[in-house]
Point group: C2
């Protein structure tokens, strides 16, 4: 028996997702909750980055996670086992989450006092970038094996995100990944994007990312 709560999301009936997203963002802000929308290609290491961040947060944040997936409950189980309150959201084949689906997930998570809620979006560099989820922070992960040209190929993802995490830097010796080339492509799309280099596996760079996130969350919640 799976112990994780699985929520089958219903498609939104609202036409205006942008307005709905702003309502959700304002609602969360009034409750002192910062929503972080985490996006990446499949297999970039979203869940393992969250596990590494959990250690590095070291109890400084009350936080929970919504794991969105087409199918399976692997990720939410993993987070629960690490002691992080989590729910699994099933999108029923949908390739992204909108604001209303995010709201259903937050209700199911049921953490009224959360300072940070992370939405781990569907692994997809295209569609999730097109839908405002109501997040205060949009963050994307690019893993070294995917190559340094991804910001040139999936521009909207990099335009949308505040933070770019380059993961699996322990594998830099194995792959042809030019950091300068990647940064040039990313900053051409979004000059303000903040870039962190980490290895969720070895822990390198994770503390710096965690510290920056804790600060951003506290700032947002006290604004």
């Amino acid at each position: 028996m799976e112990k994780v709560k699985i929520i089958a999301l219903k498609e939104s009936v609202l036409q205006d997702n942008d307005r709905d997203a702003q309502l959700l963002r304002d609602d969360l802000h009034s409750k002192g909750t910062c929503l972080l929308n985490l996006m990446s290609a499949p297999g970039s290491g979203k869940t393992s980055t969250l596990l590494a961040l959990n250690k590095a947060f070291a109890g400084r944040l009350k936080w929970g996670v919504m794991e969105a997936d087409i199918d399976s409950a692997v990720d939410a189980n993993t987070m629960l086992e690490a002691g992080v309150p989590s729910v699994q959201l099933h999108t029923g084949g949908m390739c992204h989450l909108d604001a209303d689906m995010t709201r259903q997930g937050i209700a199911a998570l049921g953490m009224e006092d959360a300072e940070l809620i992370v939405l781990e979006n569907i692994g997809n560099l295209v569609c999730p970038a097109e839908f405002d989820t109501g997040a205060a922070i949009n963050m994307t992960i690019l893993s070294v094996p995917e190559g340094d040209d991804k910001p040139a190929k999936y521009p909207l993802m990099y335009e949308t995100c505040d933070i770019l995490v380059v993961n699996k830097i322990d594998t830099l010796p194995v792959f042809d990944f030019d950091k300068a080339r990647m940064e040039k492509y990313a900053r051409a799309r979004n000059p303000k994007i903040e870039i962190f280099y980490i290895s969720a596996k070895t822990g390198e760079g994770v503390q710096e990312l965690a510290d920056a996130l804790v600060q951003k969350v506290k700032e947002w919640n006290s604004k």
Copy 2:
């Protein structure tokens, strides 16, 4: 100046993509052309696999490539430089190709005598699997760094595909990738899926894949 031909695709006006895809498949069959729809997550190595296959085909197939992307002409330029007739298709932000968009691309490629046309679809494990492009063969690439759990998380992609290519096997020592676990997940979704293990980088396994593809293409075209 870019020498590659870039085609901005128009969205189809046809409601019934499945019927349109079947028409395209029949039309191509009557011309002795096999269309292969190549899908994967971003950065799995679609283009580098095609480059490796080009060498291994060793002139046995008259073939061309349509490189679909949200933006950039990197991939079609790469294929052209390797001597493979190629066009770059821009989807204007769309996350997949349907049969009519594929037809526009084939017309732009202008290879009436091609035995094989490869559509390199948008890097995305969700949406492309939902749209029949008119392909005779659907093939997906899973690269080792993405992890062995992808067939559990993106089931439709594996249900849809005839061939699963596991790429970047030269990096197996660096990653926790359980072949048996991946195969179990994939075959649970699609018992008939054919699995090939390759490294487009070192060339390992590429000849076996090329030989199988040449045979399938010849069989399809002479059916």
